[in-house]
Amino acid sequence: MTNAILELKEFTVRDAIFAIGTNATDCHPLIGVYMLEAHARGTKLIVADPRRTELAKHADIWLRHRPGTDVALLNGMMHVILTESLMDRDFIAARTENFDALRETVLAYPPERASAITHVPADKIAAAARMFARAENAATYYTMGITQHVTGVDNVLSVSNLALLTGNLGKPKAGVNPLRGQNNVQGACDMGALPNVFPAYQPVTDDKIREKFEKAWGVPLSGKPGLTIPDVLHGLEHGSVKALFIFGENPMRSDPDINHVKHCMENVDFSPLKEARFIVVQDLFLTETAEIADVVLPGASFAEKDGTFSNTERRVQRVRQAVAPVGKPDWLILTELMRAMGTKADYAGPEAVFDEMRTLAPSYAGISYARLEQGGIPWPCPNESHPGTPILHVGKCNRGPGLFCAVDFKPPAENPDESYPLILTTGRVAAHYHTGTMTRRCWGLDAAHPEESLEIHPEDAARLGIAHDDPIRVTTRRGTLTTKANVTTRVPVGTTFISFHFSETPGNILTNSAADPISKTPEYKVCAVRVERARA
């Protein structure tokens, strides 16, 4: 997030919240509550979501766009802002570059054309654009509804374009605000758990940066970016990847097209290298992925961890061990592995690891365990007297001028046809977290939401002879599962929805692994599906 979560407490009648591709009331319930509270105080609430989420029900304007048409929707809104002169001319002149290219692209998306692509009425697109642009401050929040598309990067750039166009960057109650899906996924990225960067997003391809890390760690380092997850699977399938260390991740349920994932992981059929394949899984429980591993190591739960979490607003916070780990602390397992592989790794504890990291990661340099005793600190925090940075891009953007990146609409990778006539989109429910490794094992959470169902619109259900709660078969080009029909107007005509929480009916057996060419994030949010009544 460029901005801070608690700004939502400060929104007034003059401000606007734009939630696009985020089911915040289910997936980020507290942030969802803050949004509804702001709305109750008179803050304008615009929601763009194909599904009638709880947040959408309360919106002043709900844009029910067709899954995968975010760029067209946002370009349509920007068209209205440009043609009605609602943009922030001063901000554009002083703080941005490449505006002419944006204008040229966006002018090709009058609301009528955007409407034809998105299926949102043109006057609603225009009304949303006016509401957003006329607000004193307007903040955009998004999650996987924006990123999990073959156009995920384009979608994010469009959100950024809208913020730049209206001067909603570098000030409170504004910004481009991805809500991260895990308590510490921001921290994992910050620490360089990405293929192309060292901690604090320092590129592995930069010789000076690499030298700095080689000197600190006492080992030679590769200047070649590593593999993305789809490339890892491809490598497994073709023998160029021989070992995996999977740490707190359950790709046998969380990756798209599980049948293919399983094929790659097991590499059963045509495998001269089968013996060479080696998979280690470290997790809390024997997950579906751990079941096919050669070695399983015990992970530590949040209550057993000592260290820090960096949350969605970049706030670094201490987590303190409440109970001793059943096995060993994660950091100890990792350092023992490092030593076994001949690397020096003698740390007194998590604080020593953190202190080494902050000498190498400039945005964490000023954050110490002692300071964190007084409360969390949002990075960048370059030195110990720096208070931290709750809002990014104040005065000027990190790169200098804010760059408009004009993007055109591109359709999803797989669209409905005669054989697979409906759209399937996926997401989460409030009671469950990710692949259910933890929540399906919690008595209350699992009982509150014990089984999967497919949301399908009454018109589609009627045409297929399906009644509420009927057993149904759901099939894509990649896999099939049997579940119950949840006949509801929560989804629009032609679109169905399933989660990925239930191992016995794994939604990701259906999803498409087609991915964004840059981020390699798969298109979990759109694929083509066939639904039929199953024999009871």
């Binding site: 509804l36 509270e37 109750a40 709880e54 009671a431 094992r441 209350g444 509801t488 107007t489």
Partner: protein, 177 residues
């Protein structure tokens, strides 16, 4: 006037997270939530989260003054106790008349003693009327109210209800500004 207290939720605030259902089931367990799974305790909340196309809110007993469930009960198992309409599960024989009578759909049936840890073979347990008891005896008051992250619940006490009504009457009597 002797009116009962009741709990009601505000659909303008509810996010449909079901925390109330879980908190309710936990509050009535005779064991802890940590062991409920191990002893396979049945999940028996006394309120029900309802999602409609327009909104969501949990629905539970209004503790009616002239409670239809009590009036219709042939076993006289449903009575008013300390301001709440409660079921005497020993007297109840599971005829379900109360389910038919309740205009809110707030009455349910559940395994008698299902909330106890040694509820061996709940399938064999008697099925009896099951409803909100306002968490009588719970120090923190109704568990649903306490658990709701959206602060969507209101405990409507007779004095507050009368004060609200009095305020509205005053407002209604005021000439428009």
């Amino acid at each position: 006037m002797n009116m009962s207290t009741f709990v009601v939720a505000n659909p303008r605030k509810c996010i449909a997270c079901k925390s109330c259902e879980i908190a309710c089931a936990v509050a009535h367990l005779k064991t802890t939530v940590a062991t409920a799974g191990a002893v396979d305790a049945p999940f028996q909340p006394r309120l029900c989260l309802v999602q409609t196309p327009l909104a969501a809110m949990p629905v539970q007993c209004r503790q009616c003054e002239d409670a239809p469930c009590a009036a219709i009960c042939p076993a006289r198992a449903i009575t008013r106790r300390d301001g709440a309409v409660v079921v005497d599960t020993d007297r109840c024989f599971g005829c379900k008349s109360c389910m038919l009578a309740c205009p809110f759909g707030a009455m349910d049936m559940a395994a008698a003693g299902g909330e106890a840890p040694d509820a061996a073979a709940p399938a064999k347990a008697r099925t009896v009327a099951h409803k909100c008891d306002l968490c009588a005896g719970r120090p923190g008051g109704p568990a649903c109210v306490e658990a709701c992250p959206a602060l969507a619940f209101v405990v409507v006490r007779p004095d507050e209800l009368q004060k609200t009504v009095a305020d509205r009457r005053r407002a209604a009597a005021m000439p428009p500004a």
